[in-house]
Amino acid sequence: MIAAIRKLIVQVDETHIEMGRPIAPATRRAVAIAVIANPCAGRYSDNLDELTAIGEELGGLLGAKCVEALGIRPDQAQSYGKAAIVGEAGELEHAAAILHPKMGAPLRRAVSKGAALVPSSKKMGGLGTAIDVPLGHKDAAFVRSHFDAIEARVSDAPRANEIVVAIAVTDSGRPLARVGGLQPHEIKGEDGLR
């Protein structure tokens, strides 16, 4: 384990009824959150490789936690997203180092395929700061029914020297999605867009 994890959280959100209408099967979204020590806190570091390695590790770990919590096969995952909140002694670039260079590949292995960009958000924050993790279809970013977001928040993190890292995975789109656009059954899943 490269990341020094203080706390791991997994949440599952199921919607069975929306606006009085039954949703069957229920839409389900999972978010897995790790609270980790920021090895670069409190100083300027030109090289952020350590954070990038942490991102690679957490991509696999948190992706697998989501899939496990949903109780699905990896190929049943439909959308995904990622986010990070950097504590006050760090800098926004630390979130970028975790999220962008190497997190995607192990996450895609956890959900199988994943031609589409993994949508992301990042911010600086303190204890209990909430971040909206964007969600998009994992194989075709233009699938409109799967544009969504799920909140990630840890009441006692991030401390100044910590980073909160979140990955979200779903097995469904929005409940009662009806704003048209590209439908899941129409996608080719090759270029990541359609």
């Binding site: 203080r6 706390k7 791991l8 997994v10 949440q11 599952v12 959100d13 199921e14 069975h16 929306e18």
Partner: protein, 207 residues
């Protein structure tokens, strides 16, 4: 008739809180059911019977909670419950959770012996302690601190704890969030003395 709209589960594994990492990380979990508040928007005198309607939900949610906590029922050490009533309801609606919430968790933890009137010496069952609770009226996304105490003796100091629970987007005005929580251990760096688990002797739910 219960209209279940949404189920939200939360499980956390705490490795340390800046002290020595625990040999066994602390696992805590919460399960939240969002239901339609059948009494929203008016004062209804007769609400108590709704507790019977809620019993199957209490049991179902307790089972779900134990599954999410991912430990054997015998490893559950702490519990608590709470309710957040949406803005068109009153706190008394949240109080309806007292019986079915506690019932559901005790059913899962095994209270058979106590219920059958076996009042002999020693431990008769699990779930002897009163289930601590909080209750409020709140807007969507309102957090609530759910108290946790040891399942068999409220005075066990190492297990006096709380977990913050919050469901983004809920409860809506005509909803109630019914919440159950369980823990599989003491506070991660507990060290303020008091009654220990191994010192429970009266089995009266307190000591």
């Amino acid at each position: 008739m219960i209209e279940l709209r949404r189920v939200f589960t939360h499980v956390e594994c705490i490795f340390h809180e800046f002290g020595p990492p625990a040999a066994k990380p602390l696992r805590r979990a919460a399960a939240i059911a969002l239901i339609t508040n059948p009494f929203a928007g008016r004062f209804e005198q007769q609400i108590a019977l709704f507790m019977d309607d809620l019993k199957p939900l209490g049991l179902e949610l307790a089972k779900r909670l134990l599954a999410v906590l991912d430990v054997a029922a015998s490893e559950v050490q702490g519990y608590g419950k709470a309710a957040i009533v949406g803005a068109s309801g009153e706190s008394e609606h949240g109080a309806l959770w007292h019986v079915p919430g506690g019932y559901g968790m005790r059913e899962v933890l095994g209270w058979q012996a106590a219920r059958e009137g076996n009042s002999g010496q020693g431990q008769r069952s699990n779930g002897l302690a009163i289930v601590p609770s909080t209750n409020k009226v709140g807007a969507p996304g309102t957090p609530i601190d759910v108290p946790i105490t040891h399942i068999n003796a409220s005075y066990v100091r190492s297990h006096l704890d709380a977990i913050e629970v919050r469901v983004p987007g809920a409860p809506r005005p005509d909803e109630i969030a019914f919440i159950l929580v369980m823990s599989a251990g003491a506070r991660i760096h507990e060290r303020i003395g008091g009654l220990r688990v191994e010192q429970i002797s009266r089995w009266d739910g307190q000591r």
